[in-house]
Symmetry: C2
Subunit: 347 residues, 2 copies
DNA sequence: AAAAGTTGTACAAGCGCTTGCATAAGTAAA
DNA sequence: TTTACTTATGCAAGCGCTTGTACAACTTTT
């Protein structure tokens, strides 16, 4: 039958001359075990190279020190930075992190949810995939006692869950005000798909800022893209900039599109920021390194990541007796003015 | 005492009217169970919403479907792309991935190794941290029967381990030849710390290419940096470009330094690529988007990631009877010529 | 019809740890 | 010295699953 491969507490117990329960308690620093015994047990464990089997502990205690992270893709600036922080914070709090990339597939999101439930993770931190429009799998996890925290891409349909977001409306509003403040008055907007709450909010914020400033809202200057890729950015910039009535600034709902917009503009001889101001949502690592550098809006990925883990662990450790209060936390964004909208004070 | 929280195979057994062993075998599609029984058992499981406890399985079988990934940091282009692929491939092969960022700390690498051993992962894919100079923790993992695959940053001191790398010497050699081919003849080099094998190899390749081409190797044109950050790149560019005898091309051992070199050069009125050619190692997502776009060397992160997982799983599933043959796999890199070295054919 | 195979299913031990409870040893109070 | 507490340790059950082996109930062979 099975053979035990590694050193276990039975071996330690024998080596130390105590029972396994004493060994277990000693290793877990249980108050009932005397200091002397603990020293002996730990010495024996060290001598034997004992390494506690986390699996067995997990089975026995019915809980694990693992957090599942559901995220669409890792190789995007914001998300990789978010996951970086998630992992770092989790490590500091004694948790490991299982990464699950959904590739924006609802199906895969559900599959992963099952895996995570089967692995009995302590909690899940998730950014909804673009496709996701039903949420039973989240209910399922919660029924199984797995705590969930939602970050960035959330849905009001998932109830009783901590959510950590930015105020997309307000942020877009302020971004627009920044451009206006730089003296641009004919502003175009490149949006993502508005069925995603987040893009709809951003667009609303943009429109509201124009209205408040008394600027015209030209429907021709609002364009939509499904993926806001570099190529899409170029395509849309071409479209917008070939109109008779050209805008003198463009606000794009992500940063990649901003970059391709700038590249295209310069290519056809439009100077940035002199003739055209460009601002993008979502800071990317390269935003600062471009020529000109790109004004953009930093989403606080570090703060979001930290908070997500902290809140999750807080809920995991919450007294099951009293009901935990779920918060929706809205974090501040930061506008980073750079050259691409710097029309006023030349350097 | 403990209370069982979720549906287990006992419940399923009762519901289906079989013993738990039959249920277990039925759910695992064991050949000894009749088709009829399987159908009944699976139906019962579905009715009850049964979800197998992976922890218990793991304890029982002494193996898990989890791969640990040790990596210095997630928010770097190459690594985030590598991890992206690792996760994707692992998922396709039925494995989950635990991410462990070492932040280039040897200490943390060791801590994580212990965690991974305690979690009884099936295997580990690792990129050595910059600091790492002793390797007992890898031996420890292997003693515990955990398979290891090393990627990119490897060490000859770790024996009997599959390694997946690029040929740094050859790649630097070819990169240098590219610059020479573009008509640059006074070439400087910005190296990382040469105690890292990889940086030493790159430097050798560079030097060899100069020698072969009969070009001078000016020691003043070789500079070293510990971290090759953006700021370091600027500092070194400043140093190199302020010499009386200026080079007309610079090869940097990563891409970030290349970008800051270009930025600095342009700032002081040196035209790229006309007056100065710049080429960088390690493609970053922004390399293509810069003005001018940056010639660089793509490390095949996707291929490396795929291979790493495949080889690891292959070894995990290898017959323990016969000895597994560890390979060192060297993958081709790809030089991506862009504007920053395009001195010959102007567009 | 008896012997020898085939199935198909159940029993029970085991994976390595935690933990409620019992018990033994040590100490303070009566 | 006995009783009443503490304090320290051990016993054994249990977490949910896998799996070697035993054993029925059928088939097939001779």
């Amino acid at each position: 039958m099975k053979k035990k491969t590694r050193v276990n507490i039975y071996d330690v117990a024998e080596e130390a001359g105590f029972s396994i329960s004493t060994v277990s308690r000693a290793l877990n620093d249980d108050a009932r075990i005397s200091a002397k015994t603990k020293v002996k047990v730990k010495a024996a464990a060290r001598r034997l190279g004992f390494q506690k089997n986390a699996i067995a502990t997990s089975l026995s205690t019915n809980q694990s020190k693992v957090i599942g992270v559901l995220v669409s893709e890792l190789n995007r600036g914001f998300l990789s930075s978010l996951v970086h922080t998630l992992e770092d914070t989790a490590f500091a709090m004694g948790y490991s992190v299982i990464i699950c990339q959904t590739n924006n597939s609802h199906e895969r999101e559900k599959t992963y949810m099952d895996t995570l439930i089967a692995s009995r993770v302590a909690g899940i931190i998730a950014t909804l995939s673009l496709e996701t429009d039903s949420y039973e799998h989240f209910e399922k996890a919660k029924e199984q006692g797995i705590k969930v925290v939602l970050v960035d891409r959330v849905s009001p349909k998932i109830k009783s869950t901590t959510k950590i977001v930015i105020d997309d409306y307000q942020t877009a509003f302020e971004g627009t005000q920044h451009i206006i403040g730089q003296g641009y008055d004919k502003i175009a907007y490149v949006s993502g798909p508005t069925k995603q709450l987040l893009y709809a909010d951003r667009l609303r914020g943009f429109e509201q800022a124009l209205k408040v400033a008394g600027l015209p809202l030209n429907p021709e200057w609002i364009e939509y893209s499904d993926d806001l890729s570099y190529e899409e950015g170029t395509r849309i910039a071409k479209k917008i900039l070939s109109r008779k009535d050209k805008p003198n600034a463009i606000f794009t709902a992500n940063n990649l599109a901003a970059i391709s917009t700038i590249a295209y503009a310069r290519q056809i001889g439009i100077r940035v920021p002199e003739d055209l101001g460009v601002i993008g949502f979502s800071e990317e690592p390269f935003s600062a390194f471009m020529q000109p550098s790109v004004t953009s809006i930093r989403q606080p990925s570090t703060e979001m990541g930290k908070l997500a883990v902290q809140k999750l662990v807080e809920e995991i450790n919450a007294d099951p007796g009293e009901s935990y209060i779920h918060q929706k936390i809205i974090l501040d964004t930061e506008l980073i003015p750079r050259e691409s909208t710097n029309r006023l004070c030349k350097r």
